[in-house]
């Protein structure tokens, strides 16, 4: 299972064009229908947010999505049920869980990693477990063949980068701004410079997220990165359109995916 999981993620980054990663929060609206819309729109990788009461790294859009989901009674079991059903419907689309440490370690890291494996999850992004605290979750994930996907940020300097890369797999998620999700966007030039610096240090694909909202922004970043992540703009559609969200998600995803896939990469 581990090998297949790694293959799903790595093959999605080996299509000869940049990868589009789409994020929504689990349990916010009709998640199954929303996820299908993302796939139909052309998303290459799905990043599924695990709702948490205290999403410290998130801006207003994803905070609201977390609260809507928890308000609707979403449990950890529900999140894994959503993931497992997605895996049944879409055997080839990589699925990554994103969230915060406490819901992930509540029943023990081994329990969480085993559930991820059972549900067909390919990777896990945990915002508040830096490499220094890898013991809290990393070994359990690796034992199950689940990729621990780490974050690099504008504050991750050259001295620190090897520590971030050590033990990470799947892809490297570059947080393009020092800040929270969904608000400001970094200048393309600074992103290009940062991605070049990261790629010089690792063979992992580098996907860029935080503050990316429009096809134009996505295309500009995709010209330099292996992947682009969009979350808040999609989550806002779920909040705004409720049960009618799938059509809107499909439309925006198509525009974003097209922009990312067609971006010119300098040789």
């Amino acid at each position: 299972m581990g090998t297949r999981a790694m293959t799903r993620l790595s093959s999605s980054f080996a299509k000869g064009r940049p990868t589009f990663v789409a994020f929504i929060t689990a349990g916010d609206g009709d998640t199954a229908a929303n996820l299908d819309a993302l796939v139909e729109g052309g998303a290459d990788v799905i990043e599924l947010g695990m709702p948490f009461t205290d999403p410290m790294a998130d801006g207003p859009a994803i905070q609201a999505a977390n609260l809507r989901s928890l308000g609707a009674g979403t449990t950890t079991a529900d999140v894994f049920a959503i993931a497992a059903a997605f895996r049944q419907r879409h055997p080839q689309v990589p699925l990554v869980l994103m969230g915060y440490a406490n819901p992930m370690v509540r029943r023990g890291p081994e329990w969480f990693a085993a559930e991820c494996a059972r549900a067909g999850v390919d990777g896990v992004i945990c915002v508040d477990i830096p490499p220094e605290e890898d013991d809290a979750l990393g070994p359990a994930l690796r034992a199950e063949g689940i990729a621990p996907i780490r974050l690099a940020t504008p504050t991750t300097d050259a001295r620190r980068l090897p520590k971030v890369l050590e033990g990470s797999s799947g892809f490297l998620y570059y947080v393009s701004v020092a800040g929270i999700t969904g608000l400001q966007q970094a200048a393309t030039a600074s992103i290009a410079e940062a991605v070049a610096r990261l790629k010089a240090a690792t063979d992992l694909p580098v996907a860029v997220g935080f503050g990316v909202r429009t096809p134009e922004q996505a295309a500009a970043i995709a010209a330099h990165a292996d992947g682009v992540v969009v979350g808040s703009a999609l989550v806002e559609l779920v909040g705004k359109h409720g049960s009618h969200a799938p059509a809107h998600l499909r439309e925006l995803t198509a525009a974003l995916a097209q922009a990312v896939h067609g971006a010119h990469q300098p040789a």
Partner: protein, 412 residues
């Protein structure tokens, strides 16, 4: 939980900032380099006699330290009434409510703003619940001329108007936080969001001995002035150490400040007092150690009020300063090691103790130490008359008179 008893209880945390299974640095990558910088700077400051000298000077001449050690004679007598023959321990208080700004919070704020300036930071942020830490932070920012932003839950802004106005008088910007339940933990989330977006120039003055390493350690160290003074004062006054230390616990900084210098004195027992709210049997309390489970929040692993899925639950206490779903990681460790005993006191017991101290000693305590006083009242009756209890009177009650009036059914 039985673990091997260490040779010393005063050597924590380890080099990774862990207190046994607790503590650590559970922060977003953006903050990690800054947290590491802070640790380096704190080590440099610890080795710098000029830093300690400036800290001591400010504590003496600005805060008003040392705070008095006071024998509460009439409270002691009052507690002896109805006690079994020969029982009724002597109750002493460490008077940290006499500090500038009215609580122990300022000790820590002085230390942290000196660190902030060493690091060249030019903007200060903080979270506050009842407003005491916000007022103390605004105070040191005014003293050193740094801009100050205080995050405060909108619910707390509404119920703590006098402290909101105090912060504004001191030049701070108070930002009401409407996310979540709009109380202390949400204010802390918002503080962390501000910090992550302003890492280049901003220093986050955390108000209790919690958060990512090195905060639990440095806050404890700055607050340890309480216990160091008390230890010396006790020896000078009665020639021996107290038998029992008692302090209220929200995040736990005043308790650690008192306890830490005594941790390796085996004859000194210690009692930490959590807020039982309406009672520990329901979910309307703020007793993380007695009613919670270990987990990860706000940068550290510690006991948390949470459900079976790891979602954080909202505590309750009459005291806004104790109304937080977590606790400093060193307390989590001390509980597991059995070095400190923990108990909890209800809203009603705290209100009764509040009134008892007003009438027996002419001291209006804050609701936070009223929890400690209630626990003292119970223990004193069980201890012999020659025993000594030392409790930390960590804040004065001026801020709480409206809350107390409401609970006593008095219109103001």
């Amino acid at each position: 939980m039985n673990q091997t008893t260490p040779n010393s209880f005063r050597t924590m945390p380890d080099e990774r900032g862990h207190f046994g299974d607790y503590g650590g640095r559970y922060v977003a990558e953006t903050l990690m380099p800054l947290v590491l910088d802070l640790e380096r700077e704190y080590r440099a400051a610890q080795a710098d006699p000029a830093f300690q000298a400036q800290f001591d000077d400010l504590l003496e001449h600005y805060v008003g330290r040392p705070s008095p050690l006071y024998f509460a004679e009439r409270l002691t007598e009052a507690l002896r009434v109805g006690s079994p023959e020969g029982r009724g321990a002597q109750v002493w208080f460490k008077r940290d409510e006499l500090n500038h700004t009215g609580a122990h919070k300022i000790n820590n704020c002085i230390g942290q703003i000196l660190l902030a300036m060493r690091m060249g930071k030019t903007r200060i942020i903080a979270e506050t619940g009842a407003g005491q830490h916000g007022v103390a932070t605004a105070t040191v920012c005014a003293r050193f001329g740094l801009p100050c932003v205080i995050y405060m839950g909108a619910t707390d802004v509404a119920r703590q108007q006098p402290n909101v106005f105090r912060m504004k008088l001191l030049g701070a910007e108070v930002i009401p936080v409407t996310s979540g339940a709009a109380t202390l933990k949400d204010a802390m989330n918002e503080g962390l969001r501000d910090w992550v977006a302003n890492v280049h120039d901003t220093f986050y003055i955390i108000g209790t001995a919690a958060g990512p390493h090195p905060y639990p350690e440095l806050v404890r160290d700055f607050q340890s002035v309480i216990g160091k003074e008390a230890r010396a004062q006790m020896l000078a006054r009665i020639g021996r150490l107290p038998d029992l230390l008692v302090a209220a616990i929200g995040g736990g900084s005043n308790a650690l400040g008192l306890f830490h210098p005594f941790l390796d004195d085996p004859e000194v027992k210690m009692l930490g007092v959590e807020a039982a709210g309406y009672g520990l049997d329901g979910d309307q309390h703020a007793a993380s150690l007695l009613g919670g489970f270990p987990g990860v929040l706000h940068g550290n692993r510690t006991y948390l009020l949470q459900n079976e899925d790891g979602q954080i639950t909202e505590g309750h206490s009459i005291s806004a300063g104790l109304d937080y779903p977590g606790i400093g990681p060193e307390h989590a460790w001390l509980k597991d090691m059995g070095r400190v005993e923990y108990t909890a006191i209800t809203d009603q017991e705290a209100l009764d103790a509040f009134q008892l101290l007003c009438r027996t000693e002419g001291i209006i305590p804050a609701l936070e130490p009223s929890h400690a006083i209630a626990a003292v009242a119970k223990r004193a009756k069980e201890m012999d008359r020659d025993r000594i209890i030392l409790a930390n009177l960590c804040g004065r009650g001026d801020k709480d008179i409206f809350t107390v009036a409401e609970h006593l059914g008095v219109q103001m």
